[in-house]
Subunit: 350 residues, 2 copies
């Protein structure tokens, strides 16, 4: 891609501002971890894997900016920054996963100087970022055997290069299919309220030369019934141990509608999105975001002044609606309690 | 209501401009039938019963404006206008129903003068408009026994006073429940792409003092699962003889999702929306509207330049998903082929 979701540059974290894409290409430069936390909260950067990597770099920034005199004090500052970063958004587990991973790495080592702490924090963030791209490409390859040669996808939200460090998860599956010579067409759910499908996924598909049409979220049923959809692919923000999956609002409806039409419903994500500590979906915290996300589209007001709005940012799709969960460690089928655990263990061994 | 959807005034048809509600209250004055056809096409006036009544007044305008010398020639002019009006939008049967009804009434009579034709055309339009309000109120009363005393609705699109001459159909059911002392709460699907729920239904509910929250269309599943919805109510643009129902895009998804949660799914409309000549939903023409309805929200662009869009304005909900079809002539249950015919016959006898 011609843009980078996030980039470490001159001891700052540079983020492409996803709130104004694709109409303006501009970046935000974060110089400290609280700026990263705010960028995650206000969705300058979004997408579960992307906010995980951003948070990891946020800790690298904490180390870089810290005036701590000793490695121990610097680690305390990093832990504080980690709490602030984790609090930015509650649903996607990748955020906590990345923060915990960087801190755990630092805690296993002995440091002679604060310089070493800084280098180690940045090195781990770089590793997380590099792994993300590798993992996404492997996910795409793992999905290939599931897809016919002439394949029409229906895709929700944005799970492409922008939602990750690069390449994408569910959109990465579509991209791999395209790159491997399959004849690909994509129906793109616009994905209200923030329209990541209309704005970001359509833009990425344009750049990749993949034919597609944007639809309103309510049209998925009629599209499945009349346009021959072979697979629904969605990302994930947290997959519980039993396979219940939190993802962008509208995913649950889409899963129910796919089931009604006999269309395979694939959840796609790295094993870092699997949260074995959360037994089932009802234990996942669902972020409720500001009513303005629904009431305003850009500068355009769409609800009457004073209208109440209910804006859960995510929903939970029960495991029973999910045909398979596609990870870098293989394709998981029910019973998910077993297969997800196996996938996580396999990924850790690598 | 403080506004009128449509009003015959000084030999013109005055329409409230629903494209700019609720942010601007302005009217459009139509002086000839082609202006009415255009107002229907561009959705200045929308809602199946409302466009039926508007078309009837369009024929009254044709009579008023015609310079025909004889009643026979004037009737020919009215028939021509009827064709233009019917062509304005293909899916809602009320449009053709109202046009055919006015013309059939005129054809059964002998006229001594063109003045008499004008009076008769206007009188029939007035009758259709007056009946619409009576019918809607009766629909509301018929629905009452189906609803608990503490009732949470989920409603799609706009089916209120604005979608009709007054009072509303599916929203009329909600209104009647409220007026009869039930404790009512409404989750309002914003209803992309044209956001009739967010803009119009929320505004009507505000004026009626009925508590409600606007949600994105993709949130209906999580709302049904977690917020205790008792009934989904939707309007209809054409009900086939077997009960298959064309209605605003997103209705079919909502029906599937309601079924998955065991929530009753009620289609609400006058018997004039039942089309016994259309055996099943696959015979209903679905209007595809301009891509700008999805690509632009007001002045705000939401898809990249050049992005393709698929914009069917309606979908068809198979009869099997519909708990009941509530009309002024009673509540119809499956098998709809029998009960809808009975309802239509009962309504005609009145």
């Amino acid at each position: 891609m011609a843009y980078k979701t996030l980039e470490w540059k001159n001891n700052t974290l540079v983020l492409i501002d996803q709130r104004v894409l694709p109409f303006q290409i501009q970046t935000i430069t974060c110089s400290d971890p609280l700026e990263v936390a705010e960028a995650i909260r206000n969705m300058t950067v979004r997408g579960a894997p992307a906010i995980g990597a951003a948070a990891a770099y946020g800790l690298a920034l904490a180390a870089t900016r810290s005036r701590a005199a000793t490695p121990v004090k610097m680690l305390a500052a990093i832990r504080n920054a980690g709490e602030a970063l984790k609090a930015a958004r509650p649903t996607a587990v990748n955020l906590a996963w990345a923060v915990d991973r960087v801190i755990a790495t630092l805690e296993t080592r002995e440091f002679a100087s604060i310089i070493q702490v800084r280098e180690a924090a940045l090195a781990e963030a770089d590793t997380i970022a590099a792994e993300d791209v590798r993992v996404n490409k492997q996910i795409g390859l793992n999905a290939l055997p599931l897809l016919p040669d002439d394949v029409t996808f229906l895709h929700h939200c944005n799970t492409g290069a922008l939602a990750t460090v690069d390449y994408g998860t569910a959109l990465g599956v579509i991209r791999t299919a395209h790159e491997h010579g399959k004849k690909v067409f994509v129906y793109v759910d616009e994905t209200r309220p923030r329209l990541q499908g209309a704005r970001l996924t359509s833009w990425e598909l344009q750049q990749l030369g993949i034919p597609h049409k944007v639809i309103v979220d309510g049209a998925s049923g009629t599209v499945m019934k009349n346009q021959g959809v072979n697979a629904v692919t969605v990302g994930c923000d947290r997959v519980a141990a039993n396979g219940d999956t939190a993802n962008k609002i509208g995913t649950y409806n889409l899963a129910i509608v796919a089931r009604a039409h006999g269309v395979p419903f694939y959840v796609v994500g790295p094993t870092s999105t699997i949260d074995l500590d959360t037994p089932s979906g009802d234990k996942i915290t669902i972020e409720e975001r500001d009513s303005s996300e629904i009431s305003l589209v850009g500068a355009e007001r769409v609800t009457p002044v004073g209208a109440q709005v209910f804006n859960p940012a995510f929903d939970v799709t029960p495991a029973e609606y999910i045909t398979a969960i596609i990870t870098e460690a293989g394709v998981c089928y029910p019973p998910y309690t077993e297969t997800l655990r196996t996938a996580v263990e396999r990924a850790r061994q690598k």
